[in-house]
């Protein structure tokens, strides 16, 4: 059917597009179903506490170095760039405000989200994917265990709680990085810089950033677990699931970030 010679390029293109869109809609539906299953399996609260704590360590503590380094350098380069820009119209005293606002509102959560997508999303998809293709997930079912409750729920809960915590530290180090570059390299007055940092920073800037981070945590873990769960076909399938998980969750971080920003501010 698909390679019949009569079909011209346009039809084939439309077919390909249709298939892709159809597959995407199926994935979205499956991810949403998974979300509902996770929510309903949270209900008896003390269940799977051990697994949740283990995942919090995995997502939180082990991602800390990479997130902190990213945030520090983001703050530093932001200070450098805004300094260069603001110098042209003599407004270098505002560098502190720009750094603080950009980091807390946007760059802290988004970069943390992207780094976690890469690090944690990949490991979740690969781990669950391997369990799927080696029948370990089927084994769980036969051992009186619901795989969504045992594997997915703890990961989603942990990521949702831990990402905002990561972002608190990311915000802090981003601002410290900006301070360091401005004061020690560009020669800004430290007192003025700190005053400007605080002057325009509102509590809302920080907590909206943390809400975003929380949503990113939910999305990344759900998407990655979904792709792990549907992996099939041995090592190659696991590789494909991992790639998809990282690409899809990074994209969802950026897309959902836009919509959350447009609703919250």
């Amino acid at each position: 059917m698909t390679d019949s010679p009569e079909k011209n390029g346009a039809v084939r293109l439309a077919e390909l597009l249709g298939e892709r869109v159809y597959a995407m809609v199926l994935d979205l539906g499956a991810i949403f179903t998974l979300f509902l299953q996770v929510v309903t399996s949270i209900v008896p609260p003390p269940s799977e506490i051990r697994n949740i704590v283990k995942q919090m360590e995995e997502v939180g503590i082990r991602s800390m170095p990479v997130v902190l380094v990213t945030a520090t350098f983001t703050g530093m380069v932001l200070a450098l760039q805004s300094y260069a820009g603001f110098q042209r119209f003599g407004a270098t005293s505002f560098v502190g405000s720009v750094v603080a606002l950009s980091i807390t509102r946007e760059l802290g959560p988004v970069f943390a989200g992207l780094m976690v997508s890469g690090r944690v999303g990949a490991s979740m998809a690969a781990e669950l994917g391997t369990m799927k293709v080696t029948e370990q997930i089927d084994a769980l079912v036969t051992l009186a265990t619901n795989p969504v409750k045992y594997l997915v729920m703890p990961r989603v809960v942990a990521a949702t709680i831990v990402l905002p915590i990561l972002v608190v530290f990311a915000d802090l180090l981003g601002i410290v990085g900006g301070y360091f570059v401005s004061v020690h390299l560009m020669g800004a007055n430290p007192y003025v810089y700190m005053a400007k940092t605080y002057q325009y920073l509102e509590f809302k800037d920080i907590y909206t950033g943390l809400v975003k981070a929380s949503v990113f945590g939910t999305l990344i873990s759900l998407i990655s677990c979904h792709y792990g769960f549907v992996a099939e076909g041995g090592a190659e399938g696991v590789g494909r699931a991992t790639t998809r998980a990282v690409v899809a969750s990074s994209m969802m971080v950026l897309v959902s970030d836009y919509f959350m920003t447009s609703f919250m501010f």
Partner: protein
Amino acid sequence: MIAITGLTKRFGKKVVLDGLDLTVPKGKNTVVIGGSGTGKSVLIKCAVGLLRPDAGEIRIDGQDIIKMDERELVRVRRRFGMLFQGAALFDSMDVGENVAFVLRRLKMYPERQIREVVEEKLSMVGLRDIQRLMPAELSGGMKKRVGLARAIASEPDILLYDEPTTGLDPIMADVINDLIISLRETIGATSITITHDMASAYKIADQIAMLYKGKIIEVGTPEQIRTTSNPVVAQFVQGRAHGPITDESEEFVRFVSR
């Protein structure tokens, strides 16, 4: 007793099981034989509720598990133990934790007794002092035995074996055969084994059923199957490259007839 009637399962357009009927008597070992890709795994995955069939009934002591919701299924699944083809041990846990997994999930024993119970289950499959090893450190035969210990941990009365001897050397395969026989005797479990290893099938079976083209085409004792008059079954159990199975299937015709 497990009574399967009219079981049908499709994947896309491909009909894998096509109105399959099979009765598995209580306390007996029923072996299902058939070529690769004929749907043997699909059959036992339907029986334990891992796959939902499109039509048919699977009655376990009279209760149809296909009509059950997830909660009832969880209760019925406690009666099942399953040995997977690659053992499917949880590779993030050591052997002891693997075997204890279901005991802890169902809180069947207080924590201080678990090690002891696990050691007892492991001794039933001829293993000891390996609780601290990780699955990656085990050989194929040991993995299967640990998988078997894990499957019998919760004292199920129905055991499912997915190709228990595949990938093992002949001696280890026979060790597994002996274990399957002794487990049937000691815990009196009803079991379904799927395999294409005829030596194993003859040895462990009380009843052999041949799956071909989505249906059970013959059921009998090992002796009846060995001396069958059905040409399809005869070709399979004698392992001949020429016969009705290969004649009907295009993928074989291409290179067998040359």
